[in-house]
Each structure stands twice: as C-alpha cells, then as structure tokens.
C-alpha cells in the first residue's frame, strides 16, 4: 500500500506530489529531502524511516522517485512499482529528466491517477493505460534529424547513432498516434558484462546479464515473431547443433511471450504493447564465449625522484571491424597523489587525476578491435612508501561495444504479421556494456 508518491529533483525541487490516502502530511517531502541531504555518503539507503513513515526511493534520470508506505509492505513490490512508473513516464514523455518531468507534469498526474487508486496499484500495462491517458506529451526537445548524430542509444553520446536512429527511441509513444509519427519497432539486445581479470591475466569471474527489449511505436501491433539463433541453448546440458553454440544459463520471458515455437525453432511470439518492455532476460555465469574484450598490461614502478611511474598497455581483443567506444579506465592511485604528467599515444585520448575519487581516469573515445594503446603516467606522491604501491589498482574499465553481444546471441529475423495496418520500420540493435569490468594489477 502506497501512501504518497513524489518526485524530487536532485536539488530538492518538488516536481510531482500525490497523496493517495491523506494519512500523512505533505511535509514528508521536505522531511525526505532533509534526510537525504543529511547523509554524507554518496547515495542514501533505499529505505529510510521517520516515525511511522517509511520512504522507499529509486533514483532514475537524476531524480528521486519516492513512495511512502508502512513497514509491512513488500519492498519488492514498491521498488518494482517505482521502476515501472519511471518506465511509463519515460514511455509517455520520451525521456527521463528533470525537464521532461517538469514539462509533462499534467500527464504524470494523470498517469498516477490511473495507475494507483487509494494506494493500491491498479494497472501498469500501457495497453490499458493508453485508453485513459488523454494529455499529450510535450517533447522536451524539438525533433530534428541533425540530432541523430549526437544523441546515442541509452542517452550516451555514442557513434551508435550512425547505424540506428537512436533518437527515435527517446520520443513519446503517443506521438505515433497523433502527430503522424512513424510506425516503428525497435528490438534491442543489451548485454552487461561483469568481469574480473586477475593480475596474471586469468579470468576470475565472468558473468553476462542480457535482455531483449522491444520498444514499439505502433498504435496497434498484432503479432510479431522474433527468431533467435538456432543453436541457442539454455543450461549446461542442452547443446544444439554442431556449430559454436550460443549458451546461456538461465533465461526468463515476459508473460506475454508465447513460447510454442521456442523449443524447436527458437522463435518468440508476442503482441507487443506500446512502449518499452523487456521480452526476455538471460544470464550466463562464469563463462565468456569469446576472449575478454580488453586486456591490460601494466608496469608500475618508482623512479629515482620518488615518483610513481605507471606504464599501461591496453589491448582490445575485439574483431578488427568492431570497436569499443567511450572506453574509460579508472586507475586508483595512492592517497595524496598531487600531480599527474602523462604521455598518451594519440591526441583524442585524455587522462586526468581525480583527487576526490583518488584515481586517474584515462578516456579513449574510440578503440578499434585488434589494436593496442599505451600510456605513461607519472605521479607525484608526497610521502611515497613501498606500501603505497598496494593502493594502486585494481583498474576498472567502462565501455560500450556497439553491434556486439558477448554471448553471441543474434536475432535471425523479425517478422510482423502480414495483417499489419500500414508499413512499419523494424530495427534491431545490439550493444554490450561493461557493468563492472575489473582488471587486477
């Protein structure tokens, strides 16, 4: 049971406040913000309490999405609800930001009114909601083709946009109905890598978490069929075909997916509803079908002047045609490091010392497969001791690999039912992110 829902900007501005049960005063919003700002840590705990009021919040799009509730409520439900609410707002407003929420507050009030009644969640299905939601979204950005070049998938600035019209994925779903927007459907395969590589280069942990998301901009969509690799197999025992199998450990589907053709042909059938939905989630633990995309060869020593020398060779083991983008390596350095001098192999790279997080951040905008980059960092560390060496490392990388899935999962085909009214554009996009990619030194 949800007593109130409110949305706060990171500066504490009230964006949305809705009281469903009239049990607690509206000062809870300020109370919540006081609690958040009183904490010194980087992020406040998910659940906070003030007397009988329990605050549960999620952070999305730089905003606090808060629900107040009682102690015996299921945290899973509340958090899932808040996440679903953010997804709905994203679907209806196009993107999630302070600005888009501010501009579409009427729409969000309307959504909240339909989604929750008297603190009870009624429905969050966009199929049902679309009949009730009347307010039109205000796009926070005028739509123009020129934006295509600099807005990336998932809001990141990527070169991905050259291959996919990614700005299309950040428009409100309703515009398709009223503003003559294009009938489009996007199928995204998104994978996240959790990798730990030991100092000797051995893979210590390699997990992949993936999902297939469908974002549908069609007012009505009858049935679509998504064909996965035929050699796709689930679990360790079940291997198919003779080629390199695409294997995952566990896999779960959206309840709307019909799996009658899945066992034999690896085809998912579903009638997507408007907006974004996760059709399939899968995970692969302790196994990486291909070599890890990046390798690091560090040499760390102390020179005569008491400076710390870090010579880093970073190799990209992707196929030559692919590339990693927005690669950024974070190298923890000893406390109290003052100045950094660097020698990088190309001018588009950059590196800086961040004293706050005690790390050197080395950024590489584009890193083609099969190449190797090197960098030399010299650090001035007052009071350097041999023990300070222990503070160097482990290096963590963050990157984005467009057009690549780490598991090798591919979408063979994407068919819409022949009875589709009007033509629809279909897009399939792949991307792999680093959720956590750590290389020990």
């Amino acid at each position: 049971m949800i007593s109130q829902v409110f949305i706060l900007s990171s500066q504490g501005d009230h964006l949305i406040y809705k009281d469903f049960r009239g049990e607690a005063g509206s000062d809870v919003v300020n109370l919540f913000y006081e609690k958040v700002t009183a904490l010194t840590g980087d992020q406040p705990p998910v659940v906070m309490r003030h007397k009988d009021v329990h605050f549960v919040h999620v952070r999305q799009g730089g905003l606090y999405w808060v629900a107040t509730t009682t102690a015996d409520t299921s945290p899973f439900t509340i958090i899932e609800f808040l996440n679903r609410l953010t997804a709905l707002v994203k679907d209806y407003c196009g993107s999630l930001s302070e600005r888009s929420v501010q501009m579409n507050f009427a729409l969000i009030y309307e959504l909240l009114d339909e989604v929750v009644d008297y603190g009870y969640i009624q429905t969050t299905s966009s199929d049902i909601l679309k009949n009730f939601i009347q307010t039109e979204a205000v796009s926070s950005k005028p739509f123009s083709l020129f934006d295509l070049s600099n807005v990336g998938l998932f809001g990141a600035e990527t070169q991905q946009s050259k291959v996919a019209p990614s700005s299309a994925a950040t428009r409100p779903i309703q515009s398709s109905r009223d503003q003559g927007g294009k009938s489009e459907i996007f199928v995204d395969v998104i994978e996240r890598m959790l990798v730990v590589i030991g100092s000797n280069g051995v893979l210590m942990k390699a997990d992949i978490e993936g999902e297939i998301k469908v974002k549908c901009y069609m007012p009505t969509c009858s049935e679509m069929r998504i064909g996965l690799n035929e050699e796709f197999s689930i679990g360790k025992s079940q291997l198919r075909g003779y080629g390199a199998a695409v294997r995952v450990d566990e896999c779960s589907f959206h309840q709307a997916v019909r799996l009658d053709e899945f066992d034999s042909l690896r085809i998912l059938r579903l009638c997507p509803s408007q907006g974004e939905q996760t059709v399939m989630q899968y995970q692969l633990s302790d196994d990486l079908p291909s070599a890890p995309p990046f390798r690091l060869f560090p040499t760390i020593e102390r020179d005569n002047g008491g400076r710390l020398l870090m010579y880093m060779k970073l190799r990209c083991d992707l196929p030559p045609k692919s590339a990693g983008i927005n690669v950024s390596a974070t190298i923890p350095v000893p406390k109290g490091s003052v100045s950094l001098s660097q020698e990088l192999s190309s001018p588009d790279q950059s590196a800086e010392l961040q004293p706050q997080s005690r790390a050197v951040v080395w950024k590489i905008p584009r890193f083609p497969g099969g190449t190797q980059l090197s960098a030399l960092f010299k650090l001035e560390v007052p009071g350097f001791s041999s023990a300070s060496m222990l503070e160097v490392g482990p290096v963590s990388l963050s990157f984005e690999l467009p057009k690549i899935t780490a598991t090798g999962l591919q979408i063979r085909f994407l068919r819409l039912s022949p009875f589709q009214p009007g033509p629809a554009q279909r897009w399939v996009r792949y991307v792999t992110h680093s959720d956590s990619y750590t290389i020990r030194i």
């Binding site: 992020q43 959790l194 989630q281 956590s436």
Partner: protein
C-alpha cells in the same frame, strides 16, 4: 517551499481564470489551469483559487476535468462548503455515457475526503458497483473503502459487504483484487476479509488472470489461510510452484512468503522452497535496478540464516562492481563473509582485500571487519592481509584494522603473537577514539608481549588532559593498571600520575570512580589486584567451532518481504550476536554521559574472571559464608539475561517459596532461595554508575535500580557462576539477586546531605524498574516484619542449586558493597 511572490501569482491566475474571454477559449482556459496545477506542485499555496476552479470543473474537455480534479482533491479539505458545489457536477458525470467520465467522477468524488459529502456519494457508489464497465466497478469498490475510512465509527453496512463479497466473482481480475483490498480495510476490526476454503480456491484459480500487482495482493491475503488437510496444503503448494520461480521479484517474494507461512509446521518443505527461489533471487541480484539488487541482497541474507550453504557455489555473484553504490557493496561484503569455505577462501580474501582501499571509508571498514570475521576460521591468511594493510599507514584503515584485530584476538587467542607484533608502533596513525580504545585494550591485555608498551602508554598518559573520549580514558586506566601488574618497574611512575590526575582533576564521574576503585584495589595488595584485574583473554563461551548454526525459518519468516530487512544494520546486529561472542562494543559517550550510554558500554565490556579468594580479605560480617568457600569460583555475564527473562524467572521462583516462612536458606529440588544482611548502610547513596561499574568488574550485571537517595532503595542483578569442583566436572548456575535497603532511621540524615554526583538523567529503563518494584512489593512486606535491621537485605535465588557457589557469590557481592560504601 516558500515561493517568493506567490500572492502575485495567485492574483494573476485568478484574474485570468475569471476572464470570460479566456473561459470561452478552451485552449487558453486549459493552459491557465495547467499553470495553477504547476504552481501547486511547486509548493505555492493556490487554495485561494478554489471557487474559480470549481467553475472550471463544468466542462466537456476531459483533460481539463482531470486537471481540475487534481486541484480539487488537494484543497477540498480546506474548503468543505465550496466543495459542495462540485458534487452536483460530479453526480451528473456519474450518469455520463462515457465509462471513462463515470469512473473519473466516481474516483474524485471519493477522493475529496469530506465526511460531509458522504450522503451524496453513497448512491452513485452503489450504482457504480453494478456498472457495466469494469473500470467504474474498480473505482466504486475502492470507493467504499475510502468512505468507510472517512467515518470509521459508523457501522458497517452489511448489504455493501455482501455485495463486495459477491463481486469477488467479478469477471474483471482488478475488480476482484480491489474487493479483497476494500473488504480488508472495511472489516479491519474483524480481522479483515474472511478467507475460507471456497474463497481461497477461487482466488488461487484466478491467480493467473491477475497482473503481478494483483497476484502479490492475493498471495499476501492468502497468508491467513490455514489448509484443513495435508492434501489440500500440498495441492495449494503445487499450484503455487510456478509463481515461486516467477521472473518478477515481487511475485516470487510474495509466493515465498505464502509458502513459508503455509509450511510453518513443515520445515523441510520450507527449506525446499528456499532452494527453489535461489535462481530467481540471484537473477534479482543482477537486475538492472540497483534498488532491486539491494532488496534481493537483503533478503538473501535472511535466507542464509536458515540455509547457510544456499549460495555457496555462487559466491562470485556477490563480488562488488566498481561503480556500485556503497550500500550495495556493504551488503555484498556481509553476504560474502557467510559464503566462505575451504575452496573459495583464497579467492574471497583476495577480493575483499581489494575493497579495503575503497574510496568510501565505510565500505573499507566493512571489508576490513569482514576479513576479521573470516579470520576466526582462517586466521593465518587474514592476519597476513590485515598486517599488510597496517603498512598503508592510513588513519582510517589502521584504526579499523586494530579494532578488527582486537575482536579477532578475543575469539582466537592463538593469534595474539602476530597481532602484538603488528600493532606495535601504529599508535601514531590512530586518531579516532574507537581505534585508540581498541589499541589500549590490546596493549593492556598483552602488555608483556610488546616491548614498547610503556612508552606508548606514557604518550597516552601525557596527553590524557586533552583526551575527549571517556571510553578511552577508562580503557587507559585499565590498561595501565594491567601493565603495572606485569611490568611494575616501568609503569609505576606513570600509573601514579594517571591515578592522581583521574582522581583529583577528572570531572567525569565514571573515570574518577574507576580510578578510585583501582586505587583502593591496589591498597588491598598486588596479589588481590592481579586476581581481580587479570582478565580473561578470550571469549569463554566460544569453542573452537565458529560456524553459526542454521536458524529455523520461523525466526525470520515474519519479516520476509517487508521493509525490515532493508533497514541499515537490521541483519548485521543479528549476526553479531549470533556469532556468539560479546563483541567489544566501542562507543563514544556524549559529553553529558547519560545512563543509557553507560549501560551500553558496560554490556560490551570485557568479561573478567574473578576468584572469590581474592575478596576474602573483607569484613567478618559474612564470616559464616567465607568459611565455607573453598572451591574456586568464577562469575561471568554470559549468557546474558534480558530484563524480561529476569522478571519471569524472579517471579516464578518467588511463587514457589512465598508460602514458606522466612528461613535462612530454603533449598528446593533445583534452586536455592536465600536472604542475608550486609552492614553497609551508606551504599544507597552511591551513584548508579559507580555501582554498575563496580559490579561489572566482578562480572555481576545490574539490571535495574532505583535512583540514589530514594527509599526503599533496591537493585536487581544477576550473574552466572562456573564452579570448578574438580578438574573434570564443571557446571554453571544462574544467580538472581535483589538488594533492598529500607532503613528508616537514616532517612532523615540523608535528606540533609547534598546530592553528590547525581546528575539528572533520562533512564530508559524506567519501566523495567517500575515493574520490578511492583513485583517486589509482596516481598517488601515480608521484609518489614522480618528485619528491623539497618543493613542491606540481599535476596538471592539460584538455579540450579549449588550452595557453595552461592556463598562464594555472596562473599564477592559483600566485598564489592563494602568497597563501595567505604568510598563515600
């Protein structure tokens, strides 16, 4: 948030809203209303526009209607009279052919939350229950719950309740779930909606039709159902099995909750269910939402309490990601500690070692203490890492490592040699009081093993004037006295200085009382001091085995799927007590050192052993007792007794002996009751702190006491004895005690005395004390006729019976009391 110029904003808006030109232009009208709502959600008080907004309500534009309703529902309670004007429009809308308009009107009618409108709302609500459109029925059903909560004292309309029960068969699943919710609220007094067999089976059969929110609600309400037969139970369980592995965490959690409540009598089935949810829970740990990951982690911690091996092979899933927020990292570290086994210990420690240098200090501390916890089973490897961390020479790391080492040594005394050599020379880095507290304890206890201790302590003693923490000062006193016992020549001078400072200049009562106590103790002779102060170096309650036993599921199932496990420290404190050792709780008392602080401090104090012979050099008032004591006796505080348990035991034993006359010693089959008088009439003037500190020193826990200078003055206390009669047999007894002082003749005198050392304090144990006094009343009467003496009456109850131990205890107690009263 105060908004500058809000009055102007309201005035402008009012002008525009009442402009007929604007009213005729739909788009402009709507935009003005939008501005009002925007101002409202920014925190501007726009309630003054109520009448204008009421007018705006009468429109065919649904968007405008919705906006106005948002406004009206927020401000209706401030303008009950004007709200009456809206009701007509709303009632008209309830007849609208468009179901959307009908449901909107009905919902907002009930959302106005005005008791005065109830009579107008009931009729449309009744009609709404029979509406053709499901969306209207959904609203109408919940509307009745809202109505009921508006006027909770009115009686429940049986017809409505019946109608709602029949709507449980509604074809729309949301209507069905809403009926459950509404009935649950309306019938709260009667324990909520009736869950009988037909309803249960109906709900279970329709579970699949509901969306995940509906499923969660149904599963939650079904927890009240108790199947009539085992067959039925297993039918239900097999029906629910699919939801148990649902990819939606809320459904999975709600199902597991239901499983656990249905199978509370069948632990094996419960455990099997836990195994079954392992997959979905692990998947939730990998959810894209950090908050969901966190929730799953917290619940995994719960599950591990009953099935420690549940996640063993998946330990890598709990490695921290670089960019994860601190709250997730700390929970993961806690989980990792639970998952250690022989195979993964090296990898795990390697991983944890990496977290110790985390930028976030609390994460680093969590990692360091996690290594300490693992060190209880794998001490060599962990000590190696901890020693290495000391080499970093960073303040917060060194402090955390020293605290961790202290805790480790307490349970693994065999590590002391390594620890002693490691902590040598790290005092310069430690700045915080908790770290110094830990260091001083180590130095005091292992003073003979570290050569440089006198120099280190000297530095501390020289700086004692500027020391802010009371805890550190007290520990410094203890450490110095202990060091004096083993290395007198080097320490004598500085001990003298320290005692002089603490007794003469220190303003804090705790510190000066403790110093006085040591001073008197030293007067009794070095041997006696040694016997009292020579502390136990390890936790006696802890054997070689450290593994935590699996708890029954019932211990935690009631908090599963609630917010409780997510609360900071909710699980951590549990695990600390489960670990079995009285951890050295560190504390930093506030300047106005109040009683609750002292209590929490003394609970964590190290347990010292005492031999009664050390205290035999006391008055001859208890000669009869001391004579009989011969076997060495040791007292300890563990297992600890809660005030409630104490009261229960005390009352229960009192009931047994109350009929029998007051004799000196009453021996029942398994317990002893004893009354004794001790001559120390001034004791009741001593401050509770010093009494408590003194009792603590000999391992007697005081549970409750009356404030000083009040009559009758009483103290409740308990201890555990371990009496070693011979080498092989050793058994413990529990002693409960009451000290009572009624002395009337002194009363007058004491009134004139000034209130020395009594600070106003807030006593969190006030209630307990009251309870205790109440239950002790019957005894008081007995005491009155029994004793006309001026002494303290000591009533002791022991279980099981062991007279020697009891006498030994009494002599210890007498000694302490005499020591205390001579102080004043």
């Amino acid at each position: 948030m105060p908004y500058i110029g809000s009055e102007d904003t309201v005035r402008d808006l009012r002008r525009v809203l009442s402009n007929p030109n604007v009213q005729s232009d739909q788009l402009r009208y709507r935009n003005t209303i939008l501005k009002v709502i925007r101002a409202m959600s920014q925190g501007v008080d726009v309630s003054g526009l109520f009448s204008e907004m009421v007018k705006a309500c009468a429109t065919v534009d649904i968007v405008q209607k919705k906006l106005v309703y948002v406004f009206l529902c927020s401000y209706a309670t401030l303008n009950p009279e004007l709200s009456l004007l809206v009701i007509n429009t709303l009632r008209k809308d309830c007849q609208d052919p468009n179901p959307m308009v009908r449901s909107l009107a009905l919902r907002n009618m009930t959302n106005l939350r005005l008791p005065s409108l109830v009579e107008y709302v009931e009729q449309p609500l009744t009609a709404g229950l029979r509406d053709r459109a499901a969306c209207v029925r959904r609203v109408a059903v919940l509307g009745w719950a809202k109505l009921h909560n508006l006027q909770t004292n009115s009686e429940i309309d049986a017809a409505v309740v019946n109608e709602l029960y029949s709507l449980l068969r509604d074809p729309d699943p949301v209507v069905m779930v809403n009926c459950l919710r509404a009935l649950e609220e309306i019938l709260r007094e009667e324990g909520g909606v009736a869950i009988n067999k037909p309803i249960t089976h109906h709900l279970l059969n329709r579970l699949k039709e509901c969306d995940i929110w509906g499923q969660c609600e149904v599963l939650r309400i079904l927890q009240r159902y108790r199947p009539q037969s085992e067959d039925e139970l297993f039918n239900i369980l097999s029906l629910l099995d699919v939801s148990l592995i649902s990819p939606h965490p809320p459904v999975m959690a709600a199902t597991l909750s239901l499983f656990l409540s249905l199978c509370s009598g069948l632990p094996a089935v419960g455990l099997a269910a836990l195994e079954r949810v392992r997959g979905p829970l692990l998947a939730a740990c990998g959810n894209t939402s950090r908050e969901m990951q966190f929730t799953a982690l917290c619940h995994i911690q719960l599950l591990l309490r009953s099935l420690p091996g549940l996640m063993g092979e998946h330990y890598k899933r709990f490695f921290c990601g670089y960019a994860e927020p601190a709250y997730i990292k700390q929970r993961k570290i806690e989980v990792l500690v639970e998952l250690v086994n022989d195979d993964n210990v090296a990898i795990l420690l390697d991983e944890l070692r990496g977290y110790c240098t985390d930028v976030n200090i609390s994460t680093a501390h969590a990692a360091i203490s996690a290594i300490g916890r693992i060190g209880r089973s794998y001490s060599d490897k962990c000590l190696e890492i901890l020693t290495e961390l000391l080499g970093l020479k960073q303040e917060h790391i060194t402090s955390a490592v020293v605290q961790t080492m202290r805790d480790l040594v307490w349970v693994c005394p065999q590590c002391s040699r390594t620890v002693c050599s490691a902590v040598e020379g790290c005092e310069a880095e430690i700045q915080d009081s908790q770290g110094r507290h830990a260091l001083l304890w180590l130095l005091g206890v292992y003073g003979e093993q570290v050569s440089s201790v006198p120099y280190t302590l000297e530095v501390f003693i020289d700086g004692v004037r500027s020391e802010a923490s009371v805890g550190v000062k007290m520990e410094l006193l203890t450490a110095t006295v202990r060091l004096f016992l083993c290395r007198p020549a080097e320490t004598q001078d500085m001990l003298g200085r320290l005692l002089h400072y603490c007794i003469e200049e220190e303003t804090n009562m705790c510190v000066s009382d403790q110093a006085l106590l040591y001073y008197r103790l030293l007067h009794c002779g070095i041997e006696e001091t040694r016997k009292v102060l020579q502390c136990r170096r390890s936790d006696p309650s802890l054997g070689v085995l450290i593994g935590r036993p699996a708890e029954p599921i019932n211990q935690w199932s009631y908090i599963f799927n609630t917010l409780e496990p997510l609360r900071p420290g909710a699980i951590e404190t549990e695990s600390a007590t489960i670990g079995g050792s009285p951890e050295h709780m560190t504390f930093d008392p506030k300047p106005n050192n109040d009683l609750s602080d002292t209590l929490s401090y003394s609970f964590g104090k190290t347990v010292r052993s005492v031999t009664d012979t050390a205290l035999q050099c006391t008055d001859s008032s208890s000669d009869a007792l001391t004579a009989s004591v011969s076997a060495p006796l040791s007292l300890s505080l563990s297992p600890a007794l809660s005030p409630e348990e104490f009261e229960d035991l005390w009352l229960q034993q009192q009931a047994l002996h109350v009929e029998q006359g007051p004799e000196k010693i009453k021996a029942e089959e398994n317990y002893v009751y004893m009354e004794e008088h001790v001559q120390c009439p001034t004791i009741f003037r001593c401050s509770p702190q010093s009494l408590q500190a003194a009792m603590q020193l000999v391992n007697i826990q005081t549970l409750a006491f009356t404030p000083p200078h009040t009559l009758p003055w009483r103290v409740y206390l308990y201890t555990n004895t371990q009496n070693k009669h011979s080498a092989d047999t050793c058994h413990g007894t529990l002693i409960l005690g009451e000290l009572l002082y009624t002395g009337e003749e002194i009363q007058k005198k004491s009134k004139d005395e000034e209130n020395v050392g009594v600070e106003a304090r807030q006593d969190k144990r006030e209630e307990e004390r009251e309870e205790d006094t109440a239950e002790g009343r019957s005894e008081k009467e007995r005491v009155k006729k029994n004793t006309a003496e001026k002494g303290i009456k000591v009533t002791l109850k022991q279980q099981p019976r062991d007279e020697k131990a009891l006498k030994g205890f009494l002599s210890v107690l007498t000694t302490v009391l005499h020591a205390l009263s001579s102080e004043k």
